[in-house]
């Protein structure tokens, strides 16, 4: 017995991977929800509380945030800089022996938040933006941002003793200066005019027009005069001349039309509750879809609302705009299979029937193809080809120049679809859960596809501003691949999530007594 124990001890000491324990960590080392900019891929390391920039050739470095921890990241309006909501611990107790966060008495510890603007891996500006200001609308030049609280977002974080739910904030991207403005309860939608001089901010029962250069409220529109009635905007668009704002209201079949020149509100009674609005700048027409109505309306004249109505076989809830066309689909219902092409110049409607309901849809850059991921219609395979297809994820490619649509069956749920256009040829790059390949589908002949090997299963794919694609993998230590679609080459960087693995959780920016 003793010899056995001695032998096992010696074996353990000699093993390349001694395993004294199985340890469960509370937080992931990194988040595959990365942001790809032209200078690299940015990723949050939740456990270490760091932000890393990952490049090709297995290079990476941590971005200095002056001791703050990143909460969420996103690209700015021009896809040039990174905007990071960060927070850092503050210990009210100034005792010099308090060095680590865990040393601070619980009732003396709180967190402060700010927004860091990062360019080329360096923090270039910091703004006093609270963490709950997670919704962003960018002015057309990308230099002015209007921040508001988006409580529907996954990145929604609330901290701090007081939150003003009527507030929006203007952020100057160049300087980091912020200015708060009270606009109405729970602002939730923001539209900028094409010249960026006016912002329309929609709140509960209230709409304001803000003069962007002076950051002051220029016009106010109460959507109701009865304080007991709550009117929540669900969708909104500006007319092509920026004169009118059209607002759909949650649960109501009325369309509000706000005149920004001659201050007035008109209401247009629609045939149902609108689900989505979209305005095509090329034709100057506004498309309206409905939640439960097999109909699409097109506003062809905004001064006095003139609508053209088209009947559909099935309700379409979502709109994707191309140049002079709208593609409609239903993302809500399980038994809808139609993709509708609405040519906004000729006002022709073309119906494409897919085998399964549409999950997400995107258009190729030249507008020739609509590429849709299809979700399973049933949980169980009830047999036959129909049952096989209905119970599986799929990919549909509709040729918008013809009536052709092809529905393919996918091995597993797609984790991302990106489109590549090379000259006259377009490809869809499809990543699937658990599949160590990236599938390249020729959109002209969707049955023809090729596969490129990936080092490990993918989690997300993103288009890079430089023309390539970055793929974040399901890898605990961090793994990102860089795909060059011109030659199909893949470079992988891995291991960056170990940054800060053994770092001490020190109190930053500390002034001791």
């Amino acid at each position: 017995m003793r010899l056995t124990i001695l032998f096992l001890t010696l074996l353990g000491a000699c093993s390349q991977w001694p395993q004294s324990q199985v340890l469960d960590l509370d937080e992931a080392l990194w988040s595959p929800d990365t942001i790809t900019l032209d200078d690299g891929v940015y990723a949050i390391l939740p456990r270490a509380g760091r932000l890393v920039r990952v490049g090709t050739n297995n290079t990476w470095h941590t971005v200095s945030l002056d001791g703050a921890r990143p909460l969420s990241i996103r690209a700015d309006g021009n896809n040039e800089r990174l905007m990071a909501h960060v927070q850092w611990p503050v210990c009210d107790d100034p005792a010099p022996n308090i060095v680590l966060v865990e040393d601070c008495p619980e009732d003396s510890l709180y967190w402060e938040a700010e927004m860091a603007i990062i360019d080329e891996g360096q923090r270039i500006a910091v703004s006093a933006v609270p963490a709950h200001m997670n919704g962003m609308a960018f002015a057309p030049d990308g230099e002015t941002v209007l921040l508001f609280m988006d409580n529907t977002s996954e990145s929604h974080v609330v901290n701090g003793p007081i939150i003003d739910l009527t507030e929006v904030m203007f952020l100057d991207m160049a300087t980091g200066d912020v200015q708060a403005l009270s606009v109405g309860f729970m602002p939730r939608k923001v539209l900028f005019t094409a010249d960026g001089t006016r912002a329309v901010v929609m709140s509960r029962s209230h709409v304001v027009v803000v003069d962007v250069p002076s950051r002051t409220i220029e016009l106010e529109y109460p959507l109701t005069l009865d304080a007991d009635i709550e009117i929540d905007p669900s969708a909104a668009v500006l007319s092509p001349d920026d004169r009118y704002v059209m607002i759909a209201i949650e649960g109501q079949s009325d369309l509000y039309k706000l005149d920004l020149d001659v201050v007035s509100i008109d209401m247009e009674a629609l045939d149902g509750i609108p689900s989505d609005l979209a305005n095509d700048p090329l034709t100057g027409k506004t498309v309206i879809t409905y939640e439960n109505r097999s109909q699409v309306d097109v506003i062809v004249e905004h001064d006095f609302i003139s609508r053209q109505t088209f009947s559909l076989d099935e309700p379409a809830t979502d709109i994707v705009l191309g140049d002079g066309l709208a593609v409609l689909f239903n993302s809500e219902e399980v038994y809808t299979h139609d993709i509708i092409k609405l040519d906004l110049e000729t006002m022709d409607v073309t119906e494409y029937v897919t085998e399964n309901p549409v999950h997400e849809l995107t258009l190729s850059p030249d507008g020739q193809y609509a590429i849709a991921t299809l979700r399973p219609q049933t949980d169980e395979d009830y047999g036959g080809f129909d049952g096989y297809q209905a119970s599986r994820w799929g990919l549909a490619v509709a040729d918008l120049n013809t009536n052709d649509v092809v529905s393919l069956v996918l091995q597993s749920q797609p984790v991302g679809v990106e489109i590549v256009q090379q000259g006259e040829t377009s490809f869809a790059l499809v990543l699937m859960e658990g599949l160590e390949e990236i599938i390249q589908v020729d959109l002209a002949a969707p049955g023809n596809h090729t596969a490129l090997d990936l080092p490990s299963p993918p989690a997300t794919i993103q288009a890079s501003p430089t023309g390539g694609f970055t793929i974040a993998h399901r890898s605990p230590l961090g793994q990102i691949s860089f795909l060059d679609p011109s030659d199909g080459s893949i470079e992988t960087s891995g291991g960056f999530a170990t940054s800060g693995f053994f770092s001490e959780d020190r109190l930053p920016r500390r002034v001791t007594e």
Binding site: A13, L25, A28, T492, G495, F502, E504
Partner: protein
């Protein structure tokens, strides 16, 4: 450094009833005061083994050189960000102490000799992480190294089990307890870009207890 010392010791002529050279195999248990070590090992200890050789330079005082090395590791499970599943990887360290110091032997009993040791140390650590073999695809592997200076101070007792060659050669067992401290082992990864990327630090100091089997001649 160790091999020439052993060679010299084997070639040297022993003094009558005096042992000039010493060689011992050691195994230790060292406490780790850094709480981050608990990520590496289930217990807050490190268990290295090694070799010490020495030569007497004056009555009772020997210069010693030696090393000890040991491995520790864990399997780490981390949740994915969406919390839907769990992923794992192996983590292991190899921690080696090289020492150069002096040992003084106090006169007490013929077979029982108290010792006091003080030594400078050079610590070298390798930190490796490798994604769990259960993961599909090409696993990510990382390797980081760190060096740090330190010291060790200890006291112990040697017991002579047997004599040979007219008591010119002693076979000893011994133990020594004390404290060892290295400056922080800073795991850098500068090869991963123009700017330094740090995995973090470990402070591998703590009390130790060493058992040894050796000879003096």
């Amino acid at each position: 450094m160790i091999a020439p010392t052993i060679l010299l010791s084997l070639l040297a002529q022993p003094n009558a009833h005096a042992q000039k050279y010493e060689v011992a195999l050691t195994t230790s248990v060292q406490g780790m005061r850094d709480p981050r070590w608990e990520t590496v090992n289930a217990a807050p200890t490190h268990s290295p083994s090694g070799l010490v050789a020495g030569v007497e330079v004056s009555k009772g005082t020997s210069i010693i050189v030696g090393f000890n090395t040991g491995r520790a590791g864990s399997e780490i499970l981390v949740p994915s960000v969406d919390g839907m599943d769990e992923q794992g990887f192996h983590l292991a360290t190899t921690l080696t102490h090289y020492q150069l110091g002096a040992r003084y032997r106090w006169k007490w009993k013929k077979r029982l000799v108290p010792t006091t040791t003080i030594a400078l140390q050079l610590g070298h650590a390798t930190l490796r992480m490798d994604e769990n073999i259960d993961n599909d695809g090409e696993e990510v592997e990382t390797r980081n190294e760190a060096l740090a200076m330190g010291f060790e101070i200890g006291g112990g007792l040697e017991y002579t089990v047997a004599y040979l060659s007219n008591e010119q050669v002693r076979f000893n067992v011994g133990f020594e307890a004390g404290y060892t401290n290295l400056m922080k082992l800073h795991f850098k990864a500068t090869e991963h870009g123009s700017e330094e990327t740090s995995v973090g630090e470990l402070n591998p100091g703590g009390p130790f207890l060493t058992m040894s089997i050796g000879t003096r001649f």
